[in-house]
Amino acid sequence: MPDPTATQEATSLVQSPFESWGRYPTYGAKLLPLHWQSDFPALTANLHNGVLPVGMGRSYGDVCLLKDGNLLVTTAMNRLIDFEPETGLLTAEAGVTLAQILDFAVPRGFFLPVTPGTKYVTLGGAIANDIHGKNHHTAGTFGRHVTQFELVRSDGSRMICSPTENTEFYAATIGGLGLTGVITWAMLRLKPIVSRKIDYEGIQFHGIDEFLDLTNQASDVEYTVSWVDVTSTGRNFARGVFMQGDHSGRKDDLKPSPKPKLIFPFEAPGFALNALSVSLFNTAFFHKQIHKRVVALQDYEPFFYPLDKVLRWNRMYGKRGLLQFQYVIPWEHAKEGTVAILREVAKSGLASFLAVLKAFGDVPSPGMMSFPKPGITLALDFPIKPDKSFPLFQRLADMTLEFGGRLYPAKDAAMTAPQFQAFYPQWQHFAQYRDPLLTSSFWERVTPNS
């Protein structure tokens, strides 16, 4: 019995500016919603130009974009398949979001093994970018907790990938930016919790040495992250707040989270950004933390997802959007590199007020192309000012390279092909596992001759 709804879905191509979170660059693409695990490769059978699977579009640059291509939007393919409360193993389709997983898992006493700073990302996207969280130093990347997944190739072949099965494709797909095939489902190991609450502590620091001391003292605390002021120089250079937390061990109500009600209501005009963001973050930064040390029992939502409360907060950056810059520099040069880059950023006066600073741990990433490695990572945003931001960005990328570091593709819209190929010398090996139908604007940009 042919299914007429399938043909309906297949023919309804929408040309749309699917936006990435940085809203730069903006490219038109055709959107092909995936509803069922069997939709790929059936939906793309007649397509010969590029295809890219995408989820919530929360990566900042162009890893989730394909200029004039076809985007397979996975968010409607979001069914749960199985859950074992004894082991915490959840099997779900790849379009399910971390928010949906939390809604399901938290009332049952389970939590994500690794979460980034937003819960509005898909399971497939979390694997494809091998995301990391505040517990990288204790838990490693997201991919380490994915025990197996199914990968479907455009030739119709389907394979189960795990640390023991199809191991090369397993390693290539984790951090593989959606280029090795479509992940239809994945099995994720959740971890038990008894409370929504986090035992939180915030500590002010002045300078990178104090940050490193606090990092060392907190080596057995599960979650650590810092906000650092990247605009101040002199006595206040690299001042910030070191935040640490553990899941509270006191039994408490495990109710699901309320739905967010705030939505950033309009696109801010370009000039408003500095006044607006600085006042917003000033408030957050100083009034929350007027004391040297603050101890609190905090719900996990504000601890992990402070910005998810305001849907579409990226509009704050106006029409031009924002560039993110996130590096990791290995321990050998981590301190001098971070100081040098922070000085360069402060001198430029172009970055937003606050940036996120964290020490990565030494738990190895399972992905061939995973970004994290032991050292210091710093993430900052620049509102796009074409004549100023890009030259600064290039300088910072070159400095990162000099200090032996690399940049994070999920946050990138500006690195050059030579920079990428120097950051990720294994890229040619990875390219053998790419599905011939799949590509992205990012991939075209950084491997123009492949």
């Binding site: 309804s12 919603p33 995408v54 985007l71 579409r312």
Partner: protein, 256 residues
């Protein structure tokens, strides 16, 4: 049997879902599954039906059974419905969510296409509802919740074949309600507007479309409150009031 929302601690509600793989049906069933309902799901495609059933089982449905059937085949309806009710050992809610949008342009050229749309969206539900209404009247209880559409409120050039199938369905439901409400059976006509799907992900105006999960919440709540007609999202009620009342002389010249 009460029709108030139940938690898993009391007897679960018994719900028959026809067209269980449709997006709105699936989202609605997820809410019921989380409440611990017993579900009998009917759909045409076995693989999709199995995926939906696994999801609902995982989310906490007390009982799940399924049947693969093409609801266009009205001869099968009595045995299918009897089997479903037997499996559920009763029925509190029947939820009719199957339908096709069809191709308006083809339907303008070819009567067979139009007839197919009318058959799936109108004739098949009439067959199902005839049987189900009589079953509920016998028991003097039950809710029949049926997905119609705002498109049935007034025929427009862009989708009048689909619209007329839903107009017929809405009229049928109105009459059925008038007949069996006094017998203790509730009939809910659901009229959705445009719903946000994967199609609109990342589009600049997509936040103006209704999100399928909030549509599902409204449907569950309308069933719990024994409402008669539900426009969802609610702003479609005043919009359709205006559209229904534009004089035909003007309306025929519009491009809506």
């Amino acid at each position: 049997m009460s029709t108030t929302p139940q938690s898993t601690s009391t007897t679960p509600r018994k719900i028959l879902v026809l067209g269980a793989t449709s997006g709105i049906a699936e989202a609605t069933c997820r809410i019921w599954a989380a409440q611990g309902a017993s579900l009998f799901l009917v759909a045409r495609n076995a693989e999709k039906l199995a995926a939906v059933a696994a999801d609902l089982k995982t989310r906490g449905a007390s009982y799940i059974d399924t049947a693969v059937a093409d609801l266009d085949d009205t001869d099968q309806h009595p045995s299918l419905l009897a089997h479903a009710i037997n499996s559920l050992t009763g029925m509190d809610i029947a939820y009719l969510a199957h339908g096709v949008l069809g191709d308006q342009t083809d339907a303008e050229r070819d009567f067979n296409t139009a007839a197919q749309i009318l058959h799936t969206n109108f004739m098949a539900p009439v067959s199902l509802l005839t049987w189900l209404a009589n079953f509920c009247v016998q028991r003097r209880s039950g809710t029949l919740a049926v997905l119609s559409s705002v498109a049935g409120d007034r025929g427009r050039k862009s989708n009048y074949v689909y619209g007329s199938s839903k107009a017929g369905l809405s009229a049928f439901l109105g009459g059925l309600r008038n007949r069996i409400d006094r017998e203790g059976v509730t009939v809910l006509t659901i009229k959705p507007g445009p719903i946000k799907t994967a199609m609109t992900a990342g589009m600049p105006k997509s936040e103006k479309f209704a999100d399928v999960d909030s549509v599902a919440e409204s449907i569950v709540s309308a069933i719990d409150k024994r409402r008669d007609i539900l426009y969802v999202p609610f702003q479609w009620q005043p919009i359709m009031f205006i559209i229904r009342n534009i004089p035909e002389m003007i309306f025929k010249k519009l491009n809506l």
